[in-house]
C-alpha cells in the first residue's frame, strides 16, 4: 500500500488496482468490466474461465486490507449486454450476498449505458457522472470537473512506459494531474493505453505486488 496526497486528501493506492480514501472509508475502482470474457465467448472467441473469479477475489482482498465500508465503481462496471451471462452474474451475486453490509455505488460509464444497470438484487446505487463527494467529483471519463472539485475517473486504462538498461516496461498506473486523477483499469481482462503525464503530475505504477511512485 502506498500513500499519497491528492487535493489535500490522503489516499492509499493498492496493488489490487484500487484506491482507498480513509477519511470516508471508501474504496474506488475503475473499469471492472464484469462479463468481458463472457462477451467474447458469446461471440465465439474461446477464453478460459477464471477472470471473473479473480476480479471478485481481488476486490474482496482490497476491501479486507483497508476495511473499506463502501466501494465506488468509477464506470464501466459491466462490459456489455452480451456479457450478462448467467454464470458470470451468479458469481458476482454470490460475492455480494457474502458482503451485504457493503455500500456499492456505480458511476455509469459508457459501457454501462449500453450494458444496462446491474441487477436490482445487488443493491447498487447507480448515479450519473458529476456527483460530488467531499473534495472529489465522481466521474468516468477523465477531465476537469465543471463546477470545481477534484475529478476522479477511469475509462482510459492508463499505463506508462519505463525504460533503462536496454529494456522497456509498460505498466498500468495511477495518474494524478492538477484537476483530475485517473485510476488503472481494475478488470483482469482489460488492456491499457500509454498516457503522457505532464510535469508536476503524480504517477504511480502497479508492479506486481507493489505500487511505486515514478513521477
Amino acid at each position: 500500500m502506498t500513500e499519497c496526497t491528492v487535493a489535500g486528501e490522503t489516499l492509499v493506492l493498492l496493488a489490487e488496482k484500487a484506491m482507498y480514501w480513509p477519511a470516508r472509508g471508501a474504496l474506488f475502482v475503475a473499469d471492472f468490466h464484469l462479463g468481458k470474457a463472457a462477451t467474447f465467448r458469446r461471440a465465439g472467441i474461446a477464453l478460459p474461465p477464471g477472470t471473473t473469479s479473480e476480479n471478485v477475489e481481488r476486490l474482496g482482498r482490497a476491501i479486507d486490507r483497508t476495511g473499506a465500508r463502501e466501494v465506488i465503481f468509477l464506470g464501466d462496471f459491466l462490459h456489455s449486454a452480451d456479457g450478462r451471462a448467467e454464470r458470470t452474474l451468479r458469481r458476482f451475486a454470490a460475492w455480494r450476498e457474502a458482503r451485504k453490509a457493503l455500500g456499492l455505488t456505480l458511476v455509469r460509464g459508457n459501457h454501462d449505458l449500453k450494458a444496462g444497470d446491474p441487477p436490482e438484487a445487488w443493491n447498487m446505487r447507480c448515479i450519473e457522472a458529476g456527483e460530488r463527494l467531499g473534495t472529489f467529483v465522481l466521474n468516468h471519463e477523465p477531465g476537469e470537473a465543471k463546477r470545481g472539485g477534484y475529478a476522479l475517473a477511469g475509462h482510459i486504462h492508463p499505463a506508462v512506459r519505463l525504460s533503462g538498461e536496454g529494456e522497456t516496461l509498460r505498466l498500468p498506473c495511477f495518474w494524478f494531474g492538477a484537476r483530475c486523477g485517473v485510476l488503472p483499469a481494475f478488470g483482469a481482462f482489460t488492456g491499457s493505453a500509454v498516457v503522457s503525464p505532464r510535469s508536476g503530475d503524480q504517477v504511480f505504477v502497479v508492479a506486481e505486488d507493489h505500487v511505486l511512485k515514478v513521477a
Partner: protein, 838 residues
C-alpha cells in the same frame, strides 16, 4: 487410363500452325495429365510452366468432343498473390483466344467485386484463378460442394511461395476437401526449383493410403521445366575500395557504379531487401541523375496498387529505364524488356538470387543477368559465396509447417460454416494432408472441443456456441453473426495496423505502420513513395500529407523483410574462406577486398572451416567476445543469448548482445576467462532446449508470436474497413489474450504452438543446434586483438544500430567509424553516408 489422342493432335497442330514448338517438358506434363496423373513442374525461371499445366485440361476437353459453349468450372488455379492473379487470367485467356476455343477464365480474390461474384454465382467460368484464402472462403459457402465437385484439375502456381508457411497448409486442407468431393481430382504444382522438391510434391498430393495409390495406378510426377536459360551472376566491383564501409546496409557507396550499370542496359530491375532501402536508393538515383525523373520507378508492398500497377506497366512496355523494388516484384508478371537485375546488398539465399535473376533476359536468346552491389565489405564474400552455391545447384529447401493447430481450428469452423462435417470423416480428411498426417487423437479432440465448447469439456460454457453439433451428428455454425465474422477473418496473414497516406486532395500514396506515424509531429518531413512529404495530421487511420520542402527528412522503417542468411549460403561462405586461407580460390570479389582480408588475418585470423575463431577485445565499454559461426542472424541471436545465459550462471554479470549474419558478440563490464567455460560445457547440447527457452525471455517472444496464432485461431478479430461498431466489444489485443491464456489456461495447445513457432521460425532451432555442435567439435582459436577486427566491427555496430535513435548516439558511431578507419590506415572523406542511422 486410355488416352484420347484427339486433344493432343489439336494442340500439336496449334503449335505447328503458329510455327512454334512445344518444349518436351510441356508435352510431358499434358500427356501425364491426360493419363490421370498429378505432379509438380519446377524450373529456376518461369517460362512455359503456365502453358504446360493449362493445355492438359484443354486437350482433355477437346478429346471429349469440345463444343461451342464454355464448359462449367473445370480448372481452379491457385496463386499466392492477388497481384499475380489478374496477370494469370490474362495469360490463360491469351492461350484460349489463340486456340479459338470458347473457354472462359474468371478471377476470384479478395479484390473481386460483388457484381462479378454474383455473375460467377450464376455460372462459374471454365477456369477460376484464386488464392488459398479465397478457396477457403468458397469452402465456407453452403453450395461449395455443388460448385466445386466438378473440378478436374487444381493448379497451384508458385507453390514454393506457399509451401513454407501456413498458407501452404491452408492449401493442403483445401485440396483435401476438394478431393473428398471428387476423388479423381488431379493436382499440378508449379514451382521454382527447391532443395526439397519431392516433399513439395507430396504435400500437394496428400497422404493417400498405399492401396488407393496402387488402384489409381499413378503416383506423383516431378517434371523439370526448361533450364537452358543461361544465368550470368556477377558483382559490381568499384575501381577503388578505399572508402568502402565495413558495415551498414544502405550501400550508397556503390551509387556511381549502380548508375553506370543502369545506363549500360535498356531496362534494369534494382532489388533491395527492405522497403526503406528501396526508398533510399530511389532518392539516391534521382539525386545522381535528376534527368531520370519519370524514367525510373519505385515498387514496394506499401505503395498504393495504382502506383504499383503504373510501374509494372512501365516495365512491361519498356518505358522505364529502371525500377527499384523489393520482394514485391520477385514473383509473376514477365517483364520482357528487363535486361539486367541488380541486387543491392546480398540476396541472402540461393533461391532468391535465382528467382530474381530470372526476372531478366526474357527476350529470345538473351541470358538472365544478376549483379550484386554489396553494401559493405563483407558482402563481397557473400556475393561470391551465393554465386558458388548457385552454380553448384545447392538450393534451399522450404520447410513446410507441421500440424498448425490454430489453422486446424480455423478450417473446422470454415467447413462448419459451409457444408458442415461429421467428426470421424473430418478427422480422416484432415489426416489425409501431409501437414496433419501425425495429428494425435488428443490434438484432434482438443481442436474439436475448442470450436464447439470453447475449451475442454470441464470448462464448457453454455453461451459458447460457435460450432454446434446437430442431432444428425453434423457439426455446423448456426449463428449468422459468428459465420459472418469468421468469413471475414479467414486467412493466416497478420497485418500490422497500417495507416493510409493521402494528400489532402484524397489521392492515396500507400500505407505505413502506425508506429512510424505515431512518432511524427505536424510539419515533420518524411520520404515515402519516392517523394518528400510533410505530415499534417492523422484522422481515421489516414495520415494527411502535402509535398514537403527539400531538407532533412526521415524514412519509415518497416518491420521484418530482412531475411537471415540461408544455410546453403552459410556453408558456402565457410567453404570459400577455407579456400581463401589455402590460397585456392580465385574469386574477383575476394580480390577486391584483399586488403581487408589481409588485415583480418594479421590482426586476428580468417577462420578456417574446421576452426572456431573467438576474438577478445577490451574497449572503454568493457570486455567483448566475438564468434563467427556464419549461421545467420536469427541463429546468432539465439546463440548469443544462450551463451550469455550459461556464462552468467557461473559468473554474475550483465551482457549486451550483438549479432549479424556472420557472427555474434557478448559484451560485459568484467573480463572473464572463456577457456575454462568452454571446457566446462558452455557449448554443450545438454539441456539445450531448456537453456534456450530460459535464456531468451521466451515468454516475451512467444507472446509476440502468439499474435499470428491468435489471429488464425480466431481469438482476435482483425479489423476491416467499414467495421460495424458492435465488434468493438469483442476486440482485444493478442497480447492481452495471451496473458489470459498464460494465466488461466497455461496448457492450452495454442500457447505451445506459439512457442514451437518461436523456436523453429525465429530461432531456427535445429540449425542452431547443428551450429553449436560444429562449434563444439572445432578447436578453439582464441585471439586477443587490440581493436575490433574487420569481421568484428559490423557486429559491434549492429548492436548500436538497434538502439540508435538520437543524434547523440549517431555521433558516437561516427566517431567509432573514424577511429577504426584510422587504425587500418584508411581515411574516409565523408563518413556520413556509411552507416544506416535511420
Amino acid at each position: 487410363m486410355k488416352r484420347d489422342l484427339a486433344g493432343e493432335a489439336f494442340l500439336e497442330s496449334w503449335f505447328e500452325a503458329n510455327g512454334w514448338r512445344a518444349f518436351p517438358f510441356q508435352r510431358e506434363v499434358w500427356q501425364a495429365y491426360l493419363e490421370g496423373e498429378s505432379g509438380l513442374v519446377h524450373s529456376a525461371t518461369g517460362s512455359g510452366k503456365t502453358l504446360a499445366a493449362w493445355l492438359g485440361p484443354i486437350a482433355q476437353w477437346m478429346g471429349e468432343g469440345g463444343g461451342s459453349t464454355a464448359p462449367a468450372l473445370r480448372v481452379l488455379w491457385i496463386t499466392p498473390m492477388r497481384a499475380l492473379a489478374s496477370d494469370t487470367v490474362l495469360s490463360l485467356e491469351r492461350a484460349v483466344e489463340g486456340l479459338g476455343i470458347p473457354w472462359t477464365v474468371g478471377l476470384r480474390t479478395g479484390d473481386t467485386s460483388s457484381g462479378e461474384r454474383a455473375r460467377q454465382a450464376k455460372r462459374l467460368p471454365s477456369a477460376l484463378v484464386t488464392t488459398p484464402e479465397s478457396l477457403s472462403l468458397m469452402l465456407s459457402n453452403a453450395d461449395g460442394r455443388e460448385k466445386l465437385s466438378q473440378l478436374r484439375l487444381v493448379v497451384v502456381d508458385e507453390w514454393h511461395e506457399l509451401l513454407g508457411n501456413k498458407r501452404g497448409v491452408m492449401t493442403e486442407l483445401g485440396l483435401a476437401r476438394l478431393r473428398k468431393w471428387n476423388p479423381k481430382l488431379q493436382v499440378w504444382g508449379l514451382s521454382a526449383t527447391l532443395g526439397n522438391i519431392e516433399e513439395a510434391l507430396s504435400r500437394l498430393l496428400g497422404c493417400r493410403p498405399a492401396d488407393a495409390v496402387a488402384a489409381a495406378g499413378v503416383a506423383g510426377r516431378v517434371v523439370r521445366g526448361v533450364s537452358d536459360k543461361r544465368v550470368i551472376m556477377d558483382t559490381l566491383i568499384p575501381a577503388t575500395l578505399d572508402r568502402f564501409p565495413w558495415a551498414g546496409h544502405i550501400g550508397l557507396a556503390m551509387l556511381d557504379d549502380v548508375v553506370e550499370a543502369i545506363e549500360s542496359s535498356r531496362s534494369t530491375l534494382v532489388f533491395t531487401n527492405v522497403r526503406s532501402q528501396a526508398e533510399i536508393w530511389y532518392q539516391g538515383l534521382l539525386e545522381a541523375k535528376p534527368e531520370w525523373a519519370g524514367l525510373i520507378g519505385l515498387h514496394h508492398g506499401s505503395l498504393d496498387t495504382d502506383v504499383r500497377k503504373w510501374v509494372e506497366a512501365g516495365l512491361k512496355e519498356g518505358r522505364l529505364k529502371a525500377v527499384v523494388a523489393t520482394s514485391s516484384l520477385d514473383l509473376g508478371v514477365d517483364f520482357s524488356p528487363v535486361e539486367r537485375v541488380l541486387q543491392i546488398g546480398s540476396p541472402k539465399g540461393v533461391a532468391r538470387l535465382l528467382q530474381r535473376a530470372g526476372r531478366s533476359g526474357h527476350a529470345p536468346g538473351q541470358a538472365s543477368r544478376i549483379t550484386c552491389a554489396p553494401s559493405h565489405a563483407l558482402e563481397f564474400v557473400e556475393a561470391a559465396a551465393v554465386r558458388r552455391a548457385a552454380l553448384a545447384g545447392r538450393i534451399e529447401s522450404r520447410e513446410p509447417v507441421d500440424r498448425p493447430l490454430d489453422l486446424l481450428t480455423q478450417h473446422l469452423v470454415t467447413i462448419a460454416v459451409g457444408e458442415g462435417f461429421e467428426a470421424e470423416a473430418m478427422k480422416e480428411e484432415v489426416r489425409g494432408t501431409v501437414a496433419f498426417r501425425d495429428l494425435a487423437d488428443a490434438e484432434w479432440q482438443w481442436a474439436l472441443d475448442f470450436v464447439t465448447r470453447g475449451g475442454d469439456a470441464l470448462k464448457a460454457y453454455p453461451d459458447y456456441q460457435k460450432v454446434v453439433l446437430g442431432e444428425d451428428g453434423w457439426y455446423r455454425v448456426k449463428d449468422a453473426a459468428i459465420a459472418k465474422r469468421h468469413r471475414m477473418s479467414i486467412g493466416t496473414i497478420v497485418s500490422d495496423a497500417a495507416v493510409d497516406i493521402r494528400f489532402r486532395s484524397g489521392k492515396r500514396l500507400g500505407n505505413v505502420e502506425e508506429s512510424f506515424i505515431a512518432r511524427l509531429a505536424k510539419g515533420d518531413n518524411f520520404i515515402f513513395a519516392g517523394q518528400q512529404l510533410e505530415f499534417i495530421r492523422v484522422e481515421n487511420m489516414t495520415a494527411y500529407v502535402r509535398p514537403g520542402k527539400p531538407g532533412s527528412a526521415v524514412i519509415p522503417r518497416w518491420d521484418g523483410g530482412r531475411c537471415p542468411l540461408s544455410g546453403e549460403v552459410s556453408d558456402s561462405i565457410r567453404e570459400l574462406l577455407e579456400l581463401h586461407v589455402q590460397g585456392r580460390e580465385d574469386e574477383p570479389e575476394l580480390k577486391a577486398i584483399a586488403r581487408l582480408l589481409k588485415l583480418q588475418h594479421s590482426w586476428s585470423r580468417i577462420p578456417r572451416r574446421s576452426e572456431m575463431l573467438v576474438e577478445q577485445v577490451q574497449t572503454r565499454e568493457g570486455h567483448h567476445i566475438f564468434m563467427y559461426p556464419f549461421e545467420g542472424r536469427s541463429v546468432h541471436l539465439g546463440l548469443s543469448a544462450l551463451l550469455a545465459w550459461r556464462i552468467s550462471r557461473h559468473q554474475a554479470g550483465t551482457f549486451s548482445l550483438g549479432f549479424t549474419d556472420y557472427g555474434l558478440e557478448l559484451l560485459c563490464r568484467e573480463r572473464f576467462e572463456l577457456i575454462p567455460l568452454l571446457k566446462g560445457g558452455l557449448l554443450s547440447a545438454e539441456n539445450l532446449l531448456e537453456d534456450m527457452l530460459a535464456s531468451l525471455n521466451a515468454a516475451e517472444l512467444t507472446k509476440r508470436q502468439f499474435r499470428e496464432v491468435a489471429r488464425v485461431a480466431g481469438l482476435v478479430f482483425q479489423g476491416y474497413p467499414g467495421q460495424p461498431k458492435t465488434n468493438r466489444q469483442v476486440q482485444a489485443t493478442s497480447g492481452l489474450i495471451y496473458e489470459v491464456f498464460a494465466r488461466w489456461d497455461p496448457d492450452n495447445p495454442l500457447l505451445g504452438q506459439a512457442q514451437k513457432e518461436v523456436l523453429q521460425r525465429q530461432l531456427e532451432f535445429s540449425r542452431l543446434a547443428a551450429g553449436l555442435a560444429r562449434m563444439r567439435d572445432a578447436p578453439v582459436l582464441l585471439r586477443q586483438t587490440h581493436k575490433p577486427s574487420p569481421f568484428a566491427f559490423p557486429i559491434m555496430v549492429s548492436r548500436f544500430r538497434e538502439k540508435l535513435t538520437t543524434e547523440k548516439l549517431a555521433d558516437r558511431v561516427m566517431r567509432m567509424q573514424l577511429e577504426y578507419d584510422k587504425a587500418s590506415g584508411v581515411l574516409p572523406e565523408a563518413p556520413g553516408s556509411q552507416l544506416d542511422l535511420l
